[in-house]
């Protein structure tokens, strides 16, 4: 009658290592140091952090036909049967198919719903939910609070979305840490006395521009001529935005030497098939979302070229794009104490 097996949640939690070993994100995949972040996420996140809180439901005395309408109109395959927050069962598409087959469509849902349910509690860690998704074939589970009231519903998609988001946040933190490590000044040489590198993350338009702002502040501290500093910052900003919106991510590097400042933007692809076309004013592959943020008018490369004293672009489709802009310094006072900083 129902696709829900008569399993009742016992409530006890099992050993976490066992949970991880049986989930799709198995222990092997989580092995090594890199697993620490994921394991921490699986424990830190609770079901309540991920579940959908707006749950459609239907009362016990509604008919299968009404349930069918709600399922169809909302493109869902299962519907909790609840009253005043108390969960009585679940009516699924399979129950509706059986109802159509046997002529039960005018029966009330409590006659055909699954009433022995597998449920999750809102305070359980996500690792617990993953184990349930792995052990049962259901696509979603109702979520109850400590008073056994229905407070949400959780699907595999909800879990994956939340984990992917949190992982991207963690990866961004790691990238920034890496950038900070790389940002140590290069060994002093005859010409270089300052080098710094910033990681630029794909589609991070909240953070995009931060490197260019820092570059401008650094140039001010280094007493670089104001008009030159502005041109350098403009190129850095345009190139940073380009990496952010057009590439898979990359780095922005500034090198200050005795008589020039060089800004290099290098990304990890996808590369530019037609460089000449890409450098023309007004040509862009940007989408409406990017345009709504004030960019994407196809002026990034041409603006960078316009303000730079030297401009070079290299690209290999599927591999990388590297843009170099160099600026002659009218006046640059070396930091006190020598040529290294």
């Amino acid at each position: 009658m129902s696709d829900y097996s008569p399993t009742i949640l016992q409530g006890q939690q099992t050993n976490d290592d066992e949970i991880l070993a049986k989930t799709p994100l198995d222990a092997k995949a989580l092995g090594g140091d890199s697993s620490v972040v994921i394991m921490e996420l699986l424990q830190r996140f609770k079901v309540r952090d991920v579940m959908k809180r707006q749950v459609l439901s239907i009362p016990r005395k509604a008919t299968l036909r009404e349930a069918q309408r709600i399922l169809r109109e909302n493109h869902i395959s299962g519907l909790p049967v609840s009253e005043d927050g108390r969960l009585y069962g679940i009516i699924s598409v399979n129950d509706i198919i059986n109802g159509l087959d046997h002529g039960w469509m005018d029966d009330t849902v409590d006659m055909h719903m699954a009433s022995s349910l597998v449920v999750l509690e809102a305070g359980m860690p996500i690792s617990f939910a993953l184990r349930y998704f792995n052990n049962y074939t259901y696509g979603r589970f109702p979520v109850l609070d400590s008073n056994r009231q229905l407070v949400g519903i959780i699907s595999q998609r909800d879990v994956m979305r939340a984990l992917l988001y949190e992982l991207s946040v963690e990866i961004r933190k790691l990238e920034r840490k890496t950038a900070d490590k790389v940002a140590q000044p290069a060994p002093p040489s005859e010409t270089h006395f300052f080098r710094r590198e910033w990681a630029v993350v794909h589609n991070d338009l909240t953070g995009a521009g931060r490197a260019a702002n820092e570059i401008k502040q650094l140039l001010r501290e280094k007493k670089v001529d104001r008009s030159v500093a502005r041109r350098i910052a403009v190129a850095a900003y345009e190139l940073e935005i380009n990496i952010c919106i057009h590439s898979h991510g990359g780095v922005l590097v500034m090198v200050i030497s005795d008589n020039a400042v060089t800004i290099t933007a290098k990304d990890r692809g996808p590369g530019i098939p037609d460089i000449e076309w890409a450098c023309r004013d007004g040509t862009s592959t940007a989408n409406d979302w990017i345009r709504s943020l004030g960019f994407g008018a196809g002026m990034g490369l041409s603006n960078s070229k316009r303000v730079a004293d030297f401009f070079e672009i290299e690209s290999e489709v599927g591999k990388f794009t590297k843009v170099t802009c160099a600026f002659n310094l009218k006046k640059l006072e070396a930091p006190a104490g020598g040529t290294a900083s």
Partner: protein, 115 residues
């Protein structure tokens, strides 16, 4: 005309930055396309824009703007206000449309020139 004068002229409200800055507006740029704003050579720019995002502030910082005015009393995010404070860019919210703000600024400049 300082940022305090701009607030008065545009019936605005200072949302971030130093409202007592002595910097004087040298030119007004009214644009929503940040690549266009980056192209301007003018100094001491006041940026009038409908782009209520962090990027408007970051662009203003790059061109050394005196301040940023957002039109039509558009809601400003907390991050935008934080970025403005961090970068020291006065941020003004005005109920005027971009056109009306441009006209008011033009009139104010004329009045200032006439003494």
């Amino acid at each position: 005309m300082t940022i305090a004068d701009v607030v008065k002229v545009l019936n605005g409200k200072l949302m971030a930055g130093d409202g007592t800055s002595p910097r004087v507006v040298g030119a007004v740029v009214a644009n929503d396309l940040m690549s266009d704003v980056l192209l301007t050579d003018a100094d001491d720019v006041l940026l009038l824009t409908s782009l209520a995002s962090d990027q408007a502030i970051r662009t203003a910082h790059i061109v050394g703007a005196v301040g940023v005015v957002i039109h039509n009393a558009k809601p400003l995010s907390e991050t935008m206000i934080k970025v403005a404070n961090d970068l020291g860019i006065p941020l003004v919210s005005s109920p005027l449309s971009k056109y009306d703000a441009c006209v008011k600024m033009h009139d104010a400049f004329l009045a200032e020139a006439r003494g």
